[in-house]
Amino acid sequence: MATQVETMPRVRTPLKEQFLDWVLTTDHKKIGILYLVTAFVFFLVGGIEAMLIRVQLAGPNGKILGPDLYNQMFTMHGTTMVFLAAMPLAVGFGNYFVPLLIGARDVAFPKLNALSYWLFLSGGLFMNSSFLFGGAPDAGWFAYAPLTERAFSVGSRMDFWVLGVMLLGIATTIGSINFIVTDLQLRAPGMTISRTPIFVWANFTTSFIAVFALPALVTAIVLLLLDRQLGTHFYNVQEGGNAVLWQHLFWFFGHPEVYILILPAFGIVSEVIPVFSRKPLFGFMTVAFSSIAIGVISFTVWAHHMFSTGMSTASLYFFSADSFLIGVPTGVKVFAWLGTMWGGKLRFKTPMLFSIGFVSMFLIGGISGIHVAVVPVDWQVTDTYYVVSHLHYVLFGGMMFALFAGAYYWFPKMTGRLMDESLGKVHFWLMFIGMNLLFLPQAILGLEGMPRRVYTYPAGVGWELENLISTVGAFIVGVSILIYAVNLVQSLRKPPTAGPDPWDAFTLEWTVSSPPPDHNFAEIPTVRSRRPLWDQKYPELADWKAHR
């Protein structure tokens, strides 16, 4: 396990060379960091947009944003968080850690990997540049036709959205194919499918979903672009088009997209919880196959976003039943995490706290997800703040908590430095309390009849208190993110004392120095079990003796 990197005399590389080094790099670790840093910046941008939304809605008859600006804010908040923050954060971790976890020196196609990042960055910058050219997209992140047609959406706002999403779609497709080939071809000798770490399983499933779901989205946006620019009539009802076609195409991508977001989160906590419980993941194969089950079923539930569009009763039954069904493999995972902790020796370091926060918040998101699969209940709550609450329990309470777990867990590997534990705990508790204040009142608001995407509401309808609490919660979350940023900067200034394995972890990335040397492994390791490093440290309890 090489540490020669640290012993070399430190010569300061000129800034220009450093810059070129990052721009021209094809190293999966550098690209991973580029992804993570870029996506975190976009996360802050999307967060500021969310804060503006909450300020506008803090009281009735808000005057901070007019309807025009408000619509741009919620559209760009959703689009940014989904496409520019959540997805690339997961891709960033995948980029950095998949090769390390499988004992490879890089991804299968390093140059494609770089292309994928630069396309992502261009797509993000392009879409956000619309703020400078007559306004940002303003039709919601799912951009329903015919509202997005030329007749109802003037200017080039939606063209920015279409072309931006197209660049991001290409980036994700390239990245996903790269991951699939890497996961299948570059595993170290002895790493059979069933010994492959669970984060890699999640990465593999996610990449497959992306490759099969994105064509529907690209089809949808190409048709929209043709409608807008060449005057075709795919969604133009007045000329014989179909208004609901967009929704079918979009959600055929859009629902699997939810799992593109959440499966990497499952993967991260399935790595973190065992390490901090000092036990193997309970029911490994059940967890692995539940990801595959979720991936497959996710393609057959899209119309549960469309229960109020006037579908036939038979379709309603089908999509309702199927949506319930997806709760089963999801539940299996939750039980597996509890089973992992049961009988363990739990160490409540920050990554573990965020993982526990993930389990309990995702549980609320999952349960409220079942609610909206119940057709008659969905008729009431769809398109209200109940859904806003639900999706944020899944994506913020779920996904973002897991991503922060990953950020704290892998930070020492990426930088050689441990993050400050006290600040980490403050971050966790503020974010945990803040998000519940933020999103629980929104569930109540939905039941009280508040539709989503309204830029204001009148006084006296009984929505004031809930909205105010929600806004206070948003500020608490905002403060917690600032604390994280402070911790990040502070920790980077500390000396690199983390060592290769600060958490007493299990998997291959912790066998090399922190940060890992240029090509990861001087010698490609041979794997005999799911926890190669554990076997090395605890030979008498080695997994391979138990045939895992």
Partner: protein, 331 residues
């Protein structure tokens, strides 16, 4: 009302006497919404049980299995338990089957009955950003205020002239989309006389927030009286000022979009104004109908409802008294 009390109220559907009846999906005025909210309550109770068991279990494990002191020895390494895994796969499947049966039962209970001769049929047309209600059987066209007799089945045929909207009166029923190029059907029925607010639920552009409506459930006599008043053409104004206003409205730019029965105003794009003063709200619920609000609207509707499609029309101050005097006669 304290927040906690309100939460309880909302979740349990308890009625609190002495409070203004709040709008929520549990405070229902129709068997349709009641069946939907009953189902939701059952599922909420089931959810709460699941949540308490799982999160309770989580907290219990966190306390029970926290590492103590400097104990560095690893715990017993347990990899799996096929029976346990089968059980916790099986139980969710059972729950899901129960949920599906409950779902189907409620869907059948709230399905629209066959239309009969005594039923009222209303064509509901979504416009940016107001609702048009046409009663084809009664020859009535009105806006933003849906009248219906108590204890009668009312069938709605929903469509839209522009983008997708969604028709949602929470206390009466779940929502259905008004989609251009297709007609969706839903039905309403109510046993309780009253006025129930509703709102567009599908994002439809700049003024999605101000696309409200009111459902007025009234006794059969009141409904018939309302209907026969609505069927009349607009009365010829007697007052000179109002006559002047009539000329301005029916021969001016207003008639391009608005219709007033019995006059030359036959526009189709804006709300029918024949009985404007019988309604309680203007501009899709952006304001209650008062003379001041109407005047403010006519002067500068952009200020009241930014982006509305009448925003380029600004009535000059000198014409305002006459136009208001005329509109006042449209009862």
């Amino acid at each position: 009302m304290s927040f906690l009390k309100k939460v309880l109220f909302v979740i349990m559907g308890l009625s609190l006497s002495g409070c203004l009846a709040p709008v929520n999906i549990f405070n229902t005025a129709s068997p349709i919404a009641a069946a939907e909210s009953r189902l939701f309550q059952i599922i909420l109770v089931m959810s709460l049980v699941v949540f308490l068991i799982v999160d309770g279990g989580l907290v219990f494990i966190l306390i029970r299995n926290r590492s103590r002191g400097d104990d560095q020895t690893p715990p017993r390494q347990v990899y799996e338990n096929r029976l346990l895994e089968a059980i916790w796969t099986g139980i969710p499947i059972l729950i899901v089957v129960v949920l599906f049966i409950l779902t189907v039962a409620t869907m059948r209970a709230v399905a629209a009955p066959v239309r009969s001769a005594n039923d009222v049929v209303v064509n509901v047309v979504g416009h940016r950003w107001w609702w048009e209600f046409d009663y084809p059987g009664l020859g009535i066209k009105t806006a933003n205020e849906l009248h219906m007799p108590v204890g009668t089945n009312v069938h709605l045929d929903l469509t839209s002239v522009d983008v997708i909207h969604s028709f949602w009166p929470p206390q009466l029923s779940g929502k259905f989309d008004a989609i251009p190029g297709q007609t969706n059907t839903m039905w309403l029925t109510s046993d309780v006389v009253g006025e129930y607010p509703g709102q567009c639920a599908e994002f439809c552009g700049l003024q999605h927030a101000h696309m409200g409506f009111t459902v007025v459930v009234e006794s059969k006599e009141d409904f018939l009286a309302w209907a026969s008043a609505q069927q009349q053409a607009a009365a010829q104004p007697e007052e000179a000022l109002a006559q002047q206003g009539q000329k301005l409205v029916t021969e001016g730019i207003c008639a391009g979009c608005h219709a007033i029965e019995g006059t030359n105003a036959k526009g189709m794009n804006g709300p029918n104004l024949t009985h404007l003063y019988s309604r309680k709200i203007i501009a899709g619920g952006a304001a209650p109908l008062t003379e001041e609000n109407l005047a403010a609207w006519l002067r500068d509707s952009e200020a009241m409802k930014p982006g509305n499609l009448m925003a380029n029309v600004r009535v000059q101050e000198q014409h305002l008294p006459a136009i208001l005097a005329y509109l006042r006669t449209l009862k």
